[in-house]
């Protein structure tokens, strides 16, 4: 701080501090505190705000437990509150997306870091970047076209004789959502993993080869442990983006695939109940953070490794 004052003088230092303060206080901290505060208040008509009924309660959070539905897994049937069910499925399918993204991205990340001719690498990276510049809504829309009942995927599969009748892809639970999320976020896994593998000394791999290690053991004992921070940051990114996505589930979802963000959206836009929407949004933030922290503890990764 002293250093900054000496270099840039009191005026510029104050200006920079004010800019940072505006960002962190007005755009991050106070909005989140307001969200938290509002989530404990009931949804009331304007005239009653501040009146006797405007008291703090856990009412909005309790709405999560309303409306039980009957479900069955493996023959066991049980009842579960519908919003809890939505939340659990959102988390579950976000994890599925994260794992599939990793499985798809890892071979390519290794290829980019260790196999490809370094001279053609910039061209490859440029090609990979093209879908990233095309906006998310259009990428989801592209899959909407592909997966349509009379769309190109069904036509192709029928033409090669893999299926007899067209399949309703976007009416099979979460299939469409998972396909769309993977396509949208797989690159957020690829680049961190690539960065991590790239910093591995190739001599280590060659030494292991010379000593007779089979290829899977080289990956398991050398490359994967080295790439762990990259895998962790890619996974956190993909998981949080998937769980927080509203576009992809809304475009590619079926009648039976409700995403938790869609529930929040309905409280906010359809019911106009901002207070309950706040409570649900806060729950999403809190629980996702908890899950990420838990996963990082399980895999023994530190936050400082991720932000590198």
């Amino acid at each position: 701080m002293q250093d900054m004052l000496r270099r840039y003088g009191p005026g510029l230092t104050l200006l920079m501090c004010l800019l940072v303060a505006f960002w962190l206080i007005m755009l991050v901290i106070v909005p989140n505190i307001t969200l938290f505060e509002q989530s404990f208040r009931p949804y009331l008509p304007v005239t009653e705000i501040g009146g006797p009924r405007d008291t703090y309660s856990l009412g909005n959070y309790m709405k999560v437990f309303d409306g039980r539905v009957e479900k069955s897994i493996l023959g066991f049937s049980y009842t579960i509150p519908v919003h809890v069910y939505t939340f659990l499925l959102t988390i579950f399918y976000s994890m599925v997306v994260t794992v599939l993204c990793f499985l798809m991205a890892y071979p390519l990340a290794y290829y980019m870091a260790k196999i490809v001719n370094p001279r053609s690498l910039p061209t490859l990276i440029l090609l990979l970047f093209i879908p990233l510049w095309v906006s998310e809504v259009l990428r989801a829309f592209a899959w909407w076209i592909i997966l349509a009942f009379k769309g190109p995927l069904n036509a192709l599969l029928q033409a090669v004789g893999l299926i007899e009748d067209p399949i309703r892809w976007t009416n099979m639970g979460y299939t469409g959502v998972v396909i769309g999320l993977i396509y949208t976020y797989v690159l957020f896994m690829l680049f961190p993993v690539y960065n991590a593998i790239q910093s591995l000394d190739t001599n280590q791999i060659e030494a292991a080869e010379d000593l007779g290690a089979p290829w899977w053991k080289i990956h398991w004992r050398i490359v994967l442990p080295h790439a762990k921070p990259g895998i962790a940051s890619g996974s956190v990114m993909v998981f949080m983006l998937s769980a927080g996505s509203l576009l992809v589930p809304s475009i590619l979802g079926s009648t039976t695939s409700q995403w938790f963000t869609q529930t929040i959206d309905q409280w906010f836009k359809d019911a106009l109940d901002w207070n309950t929407a706040s409570a649900y949004a806060f729950l999403l933030l809190l629980l996702c953070t908890l899950i990420v922290t838990l996963a990082m503890w399980l895999f023994r990764v530190k936050l400082s490794d991720i932000a590198k």
């Binding site: 510029l12 307001t34 927080g244 509203l246 901002w274 929407a277």
Partner: protein, 289 residues
């Protein structure tokens, strides 16, 4: 065996690229199909009607202009905030640095839904507190300016990371020397620090601009009645679409491709010059021996 694995990995790379790019080709192709529904099968013949319909679509053009304004505003504000934050983070240390840095980074991970709702609620509540609920003046009503503020809250962190990385290669001794030679504080900033940071600032502005165009979650909750392109496309996709969206997608993809091509040609030219220079140096060295 080794050879086989190598060929398999080349094949995998090809398949992956195909997987990434083919959906974009399908989407672009549907822009030229003379069919009421956006698809490439069945092919009903070439047409460019969807492009003229797109230009006639007033709402889309309005949304497009809005998007550019929002993106420009986000780019300017987050570059200023992000650069200031990076300089601040770079010149403090210890616990304060860890806490501030952690807070800045965490904004990237906050779900957009949460950012959108919290920004909306805070500004409308603040307006209600200051002016009463019915007579809130401009900045306290829903609208695209709130979308800008919401987007800035996490895009600033991305700019901050880029500028901070660039600051690592900055020699603070240059500033000392300038101060010793009698430069003023603002001269140090303008003539020494900022020129070193320009590449990162430029990259930050580009990232901020495109992140803003992409953004849906924050905009959806704060926009009031205004449209941006993303929101408009979304509403079109949900409520019976014509292939005008495909025409738009085709144009956007073309712009991306042209920019990518220019970048690639430029890079290759530079690489060639570099290689020629190296060869020259090697020849000179050999001649000396």
């Amino acid at each position: 065996m080794h050879k086989l694995r190598q060929n398999l990995s080349h094949l995998y790379m090809m398949l992956f690229l195909l997987y990434l790019l083919l959906p974009l080709v399908v989407m672009s192709g549907a822009a030229f199909n003379d069919s009421k529904l956006p698809s490439i099968v069945p092919w009903k013949g070439w047409t460019t009607i969807w492009f003229s319909e797109m230009i006639a679509d007033q709402r889309m053009m309005k949304a497009f202009v809005n998007t550019l304004w929002v993106a420009a505003a986000v780019a300017v504000i987050s570059v200023v905030i992000g650069t200031a934050s990076a300089i601040l983070i770079n010149s403090i240390s210890g616990r304060a640095r860890t806490v501030l840095y952690g807070m800045m980074i965490s904004t990237i991970l906050i779900p957009g839904v949460v950012i959108g709702i919290s920004t909306m609620i805070m500004w409308t509540q603040l307006g209600g507190l200051l002016f009463g609920p019915d007579t809130r003046p401009w900045p306290f009503i829903p609208g695209l300016h709130l979308s800008v503020l919401g987007q800035v809250s996490y895009i600033s962190a991305m700019v901050m990371l880029l500028v901070l990385a660039r600051l690592q290669s900055f020699d603070a001794g240059l500033e000392e020397a300038a101060l010793d030679l009698g430069a003023s504080h603002s001269q140090v900033m303008r003539r020494i620090l900022l020129p070193h940071l320009y590449p990162a600032i430029g990259a930050g502005a580009a990232v901020a601009f495109f992140q803003s165009i992409e953004n849906f979650n924050v905009t959806q909750f704060t926009r009031g009645g205004a449209d941006t392109l993303t929101v408009y496309v979304f509403s079109k996709v949900r409520s019976g679409i014509t292939p005008t969206i495909n025409a738009l997608a085709f144009l956007l993809i073309m712009v991306t491709l042209i920019l990518a091509l220019v970048y690639e040609v430029n890079r290759r030219r530079k690489a060639r010059i570099e290689a020629a220079r190296e060869a020259e140096a090697r020849r000179a060295e050999a001649a000396e021996m």
